[in-house]
Subunit: 331 residues, 2 copies
């Protein structure tokens, strides 16, 4: 646990230092955000805020992980999680980079964005299926039974991975929203990894290393939030939200806790669901809207709730759900 | 730990339900805040926001503690902490109540406010000194040595108690500031109590019960922050800040961790210190100001930093300091 705390603090310190270096550089390079034309009117003032700020937490999280992970332990799981985070993060980076080059709100086309995600997700699903310690199984939280999905695991995980990454991307719509909510998720997963290491000594090294990474994400995000807190001086961009999505789904895959995602990451799930409901309702009713705007946090915004109160509400609900999830893993 | 988590959730649920009942009632009773005439100009818009919202977390915290504490265990420490919180809280309540009755920014006179604080602090200091498990000692964090202060303990603790309560009161100047910072403090102390219970089986019941109370404060404050997040719909008032100060100093006294206060509650300490520096400098220079305004958070505000960013910064620093404090108590 001491090592975990030092990991958090090291990643935090690096992110705090990186912020004032990266933000002016992003501004100089004209990595300012072109605000999505269909977003709320009140977001117009956010035009020009630099994006791609995700590197403020991603780079420190990676460095702190490599510095503090147990090198003598096994690190199959850690490698898996790092590839998931970096793999999806690079897609986001490509998207951000093209947005800036073209000075448009859209970078990659939807197809260009989806295809590499599917490739990475299939590769990661097959890898997990073939790994003897994961092997196509989920642990069902609150019941503590192992559910073997067989080969069906691969298409299901493809859906879970692509779904999580894009849900994280959708949740990144208000100052501090995705950064804070996912910080609580990673803190929860770090503690769960410590508990799983204690419960399974044979694989303790694997779990502890994944916990170190989750802790590094907590620290990096704490530092990032210093600069992303309302009114935000930087946005994480797709590089940030894809990195977070990839990291989170990686951690839950190796711990076989994908079923915990709808609990601790409910905020992401409702973002996607509200988007789907809005789209389906719009189609079915030939033009009526179910929410004032999707994803759900924009609905609250247009209902007159201040941005900072919405973010606080999402934080509080997420913390309560994370506490419920932790009930499984403590005496 | 499961019991602790349930305590947090129970207190949270009560506070969430209590908010929409208490806030309109406070408004109807005209418990609106008269903004301090010497505060920042930008705070004028906060005029009329109901105060005395401290009952939104104090009452749930007390009920959850009584519901979840270990009744078969020893509860000397818990009784001590509850009397400290309620005792100081009642002074704050009297102050709030008189402010409303008189429609003024000041309720009790400084002397009327200070005298009962000193009486309670002396009583609690003597009690702690006479309790064989506390007995005038402090544990020095990071060195793990016991420091016996002898009878000197009583005047020192008088200073610590009155200082903590008034520092909490000073920190309560921005939306979510004291509520959030003290939430992290109580979460830290709850975990430390669990660790101390494991390390000292003979007194485990005492520490666990204090931990339950700290957890109940975490839950109550989480619920309260739902309504106090910027822009705040309710302020905690003196009843809230005095209750928090009394609760926090009570918890650190029975765990002999008063020396941890400058770490986990640094935000409170700098609030008091900046006030003292401002006053002393003003006197010494015959009218010059060291800070643009004291306490320190108002200095940041007048330096152009948005309120929400200041609060985020205080949160982040407090979390890092709490993590450092936890290093003492984990393997």
């Amino acid at each position: 646990m001491q090592r975990l705390i030092w990991t958090v603090i090291a990643a935090f310190a690096m992110a705090i230092v990186l912020g004032p270096i990266v933000i002016p550089w992003l501004k100089r390079m004209h990595f300012g955000k072109e605000i999505y034309e269909l977003g709320p009117q009140s977001h117009k003032k956010k035009q020009g805020t630099p994006q791609m700020g995700g590197i403020i937490f991603a780079v420190p999280a990676l460095i702190a992980t490599l510095a503090f992970c147990y090198k003598d332990g096994r690190w199959d799981f850690l490698l898996y999680v790092l590839l998931s985070a970096v793999g999806f993060g690079l897609i986001g980076f490509a998207d951000d980079f093209l947005k800036v080059k073209r000075h448009a709100a859209e970078g990659l086309t939807p197809r260009q964005k989806m295809l590499p995600q599917i490739v990475i997700a299939i590769a990661l699903s097959v890898w997990a299926y073939l790994n003897p310690n994961i092997g196509g199984t989920w642990t069902v939280p609150f019941f503590n039974v192992t559910w073997n999905l067989g080969w069906f695991y691969i298409p299901v995980m493809l859906f879970v991975m692509v779904g999580t990454v894009n849900s994280a991307n959708l949740l990144d719509g208000l100052d501090g929203l995705l950064g804070g909510c996912s910080l609580f998720d990673f803190a929860t997963m770090a503690l769960i990894c410590v508990a799983m290491a204690a419960a399974d000594p044979a694989n303790a090294g694997e779990y502890l290393n994944v916990g170190i990474f989750a802790g590094a994400m907590v620290g990096g995000l704490m530092g990032y939030l210093r600069y992303n807190s309302h009114p935000a001086r930087v946005f994480m961009g797709d590089v940030g939200s894809f990195f977070i999505g990839g990291a989170l789904v990686g951690v839950t895959t190796v711990t076989r806790l994908s079923l915990l995602l709808p609990v601790i990451a409910l905020a992401m799930v409702v973002s996607s669901l509200s988007d789907l409901i809005q789209f389906a309702y719009f189609r079915a009713t030939h033009g009526k809207r179910f929410f004032k705007m999707a994803p759900l946090h924009h609905h609250f915004e247009l209902s007159g709730m201040p941005e900072t109160q919405i973010v606080a509400m999402y934080y509080i609900v997420t913390v309560v759900l994370c506490l419920l999830a932790l009930l499984n893993f403590v005496a």
